[in-house]
Symmetry: C2
């Protein structure tokens, strides 16, 4: 686990990691949230709606930004203040995703920073882009 302090944060600093989406993750997310929407739970419904398989919950894919902040950038001292994500393309079970963040703004007064974030799939398509505003534990 990284332990960046505010003083270590500089513009352009980047961290990323990879993850493959599994059916178990989908089941676990459904169990946590109770989101039984058929686009995520029913392959036949999803095909009928024009998708090749059931679609991964957008908020499940977004959950990996918890790891990006809490483990990678800034790691142990992370306190997420705000998030903003746009969903650009569907994600499917088996997709190999790269979760990335790059520091884009540093606020010395409030000791918070902004990072631009993205999720890119195995076909190099950006499936999520957005930003996170993050502060630090003392």
């Amino acid at each position: 686990m990284n332990i960046y302090r505010f003083e270590d944060i500089e513009l352009g600093l980047t961290e990323s990691f990879n993850v493959t989406i599994t059916a178990d993750m989908m089941d676990a997310f459904k169990n946590i949230t109770g989101d039984v929407n058929p686009l995520h739970c029913d392959k036949a419904f999803s095909k009928q709606e024009g998708f090749r398989d059931r679609v991964v919950y957008g908020l499940l894919t977004s959950s990996f930004f918890s790891t990006l902040a809490g483990v990678y950038l800034p790691g142990e001292k992370s306190l997420i203040h705000e998030i903003q994500f746009k969903y650009k393309k569907p994600v499917f079970i088996g997709d190999e995703l790269t979760i990335s963040g790059t520091v884009s703004e540093i606020d010395d007064k409030f000791k918070v920073f902004t990072m631009k974030v993205s999720v890119i799939n195995q076909d190099n398509e950006k499936v999520i882009r957005g930003s996170m505003r993050i502060g630090f534990l003392p």
Copy 2:
């Protein structure tokens, strides 16, 4: 499960539901994401940092907005385009949360709407506020 169509959406339309955060949800979220940050996993660390218990992952609490959109408003036909959340107060295991959304903007051209969303705890404190931009399956 609700099945609001675009034509059913009107300003002020509100849906909400309640959920109690459990330790099992925390474990499941950690297993999905790999976020082993000690603020969420280690009570002693969290106390040392000034919290009364380990803090619930912000992205876990946010995950219930998947359910709000996918089951309640608009329900079955939901397609989330964009989310924005601000984390205002910490959430703890055992907290009883109310997840709410109210339609605040309707875009007839693109057939999408915006809802203002919030999570309020058992002490009537707003722990998350934000917005979601949502479209519809055909």
